[in-house]
Symmetry: none
DNA sequence: GATGAATGAGAGTTCATTCAT
DNA sequence: GATGAATGAACTCTCATTCAT
């Protein structure tokens, strides 16, 4: 189960590949070629496939990392105790999605599913904490449920990526969405 | 400038191809093969390419048709004079998107852009009429602008397509979204 | 079940691909690349895959054709009524195998099996007729059974392909083998 | 000219690699990957390549070892003086081949030649002794020559590997073959 | 000497697009 | 106009071999 620690150069390459993949997939979507990822990372294709035996594995790894980062951010916010933290988090995620397809794919792997379903669960827990806090403080309506929050977040991220969403429009749309959650 | 009228069989083929393409792309996404479209339409690939020199052209044609249908529906609703028609339309479109990727692609061609940008304008006009009517009747907040409505609609459609949106969740999410527009 | 008749050029290409494949696989074994087959046939790879969606399909087609030819030859010999026809056929097949790996693969698909099993059955029937005739005439021992004949034939073909089997040696080895079948 | 004696661990590794390679190639054929061999041997690929600079070298080494073992067995049998020892040896080798591709590759490296030709010579000497003994005792026909024996043995081993050779069929086929050598 | 990560040519396969029939 | 066979670039993935650690 536990794998031996990677050699220093291997770990470095793994990281570079992951970083390159995030960039490439953010720019061209997940249909971008593995070869392009390798090129951007400055390694040979074989190296990419050594680290991620399948393109799906690469995608999954990216999503996992992203999910980890988002969940961590959510936890940090939750720890700070601000009842409106849910709104902050929501807005931040959408903002991020605006420039990166990856966030969108994490929230809704439409078709090219890569086992993201389980990862969203991890994020869900973090979100749930934020939601609970907000509910207690009366910052959101009592009947708002977790799946709705995720749904709206997903929707907003997808939308944010759509052509024509200027920063201003994005801001107004998110505001509307968050208003929908308020009492 | 003006092209000669198509022969009867050509016109018939064009329609069949379009219909088949809608089906195929709804089911498998826009990455489905042209050959599959041809097969479903009962014609040979060559015929598809004669009518639509490029896959992108085919996509654009589909979008145009869809836009036409949606705009027509919006106009019909507007003509009926119900102040809440905007909400009806909104819900209907999301419902449709839930089972068909095409609507989503129309509202936000993320990447595989096929000149949809201009088409959305046509739909915008129809939506604008609905919005104006709703505003006059006080059914929506005064400050809600057209681009926000489109943004939310886009977002909702994308979300509706996401894995895990059950009909129930879809209903609740749309309700929330529409609440966000109400005074 | 029945496919439409191929267009003239398609039929021509199919034949050329098959012929090229026989040559290539005879020379370099079944691990030779599909690209090489295409090159030899004077077509593009895509064409090979259009006719034979999988490399295994190509192999199977070759085997089927070969089996057909061998069975036909066996039937011809059987029709002529010579009690020693079994021996003639045996020697001919081995002779052929000496210069072509394909025969060997047909008789014993060792590993890279491509559904040849069923094809050998067809050949088996033809061989059985020859064997029956020989037995009646007392040309082979009474207890010799079909599977043994196939076994020895397979063995001889494999051997004939082995490095170092000169024509002379081949002749003597086959003679010994056939002696083993005689009373 | 003479190489320095290997370090103890190096000698041990060499042996383990060889043993692993025999297993792996017996199971999956010579197209099995070098990495698989290394894994089975419990060493890293680099180590395999240090000992055998090329895959072909590894194959050749295996064959040499096998040839040594078979020759030793033949000599033992020859020393015992049984006139029928040739038959015993023949049957034993075929039996072994039935479960292991390696024997077959030794006797007839069809294509992936790895310099086995010369190795068979060594085995030939041992076989020649058995043949001579059998001839003296009148156990085989006077005109049977060494190359024929090798040819039949090769053939039988190849055949034994072929799909569909049950132990029973194998026994009958070998019996037939040996009968062919008897007066 | 051993390790195992990196390399990169090459394999099988797919698909938008072209063009002879 | 319609057909469907041919094209060939592109894609994912494998593996013998090299070389930094």
């Amino acid at each position: 189960m536990s794998e031996p620690p990677l050699r220093a150069d291997a770990r470095r390459n793994r990281a570079r590949i992951l970083a390159a993949a995030v960039e490439v997939f953010d720019e061209h979507g997940t249909s971008a070629s593995t070869e392009e990822v390798a090129r951007r990372a400055g390694v040979a294709v074989g190296t990419v496939f050594r680290h991620f035996p399948t393109k799906a594995d690469l995608l999954a790894a990216i999503m996992k990392e992203l999910q980890g980062r988002l969940a961590a951010r959510a936890e940090t916010l939750a720890a700070e105790g601000d009842p409106a933290a849910l709104f902050t988090f929501f807005a931040e995620v959408v903002e991020r999605a605006a420039g990166a397809r990856t966030v969108v794919h994490l929230l809704a792997a439409d078709g090219t599913d890569v086992g993201v379903d389980r990862q969203i669960a991890g994020l869900g827990e973090a979100l749930d904490a934020l939601l609970a806090r907000a509910r207690e403080a009366g910052a959101v309506r009592a009947e708002v449920r977790l799946d709705e929050v995720i749904a709206l977040l997903t929707a907003a991220c997808h939308g944010a990526l759509a052509a024509g969403w200027t920063p201003d429009l994005r801001h107004r749309a998110v505001t509307r969405l968050l208003d929908a959650l308020r009492p």
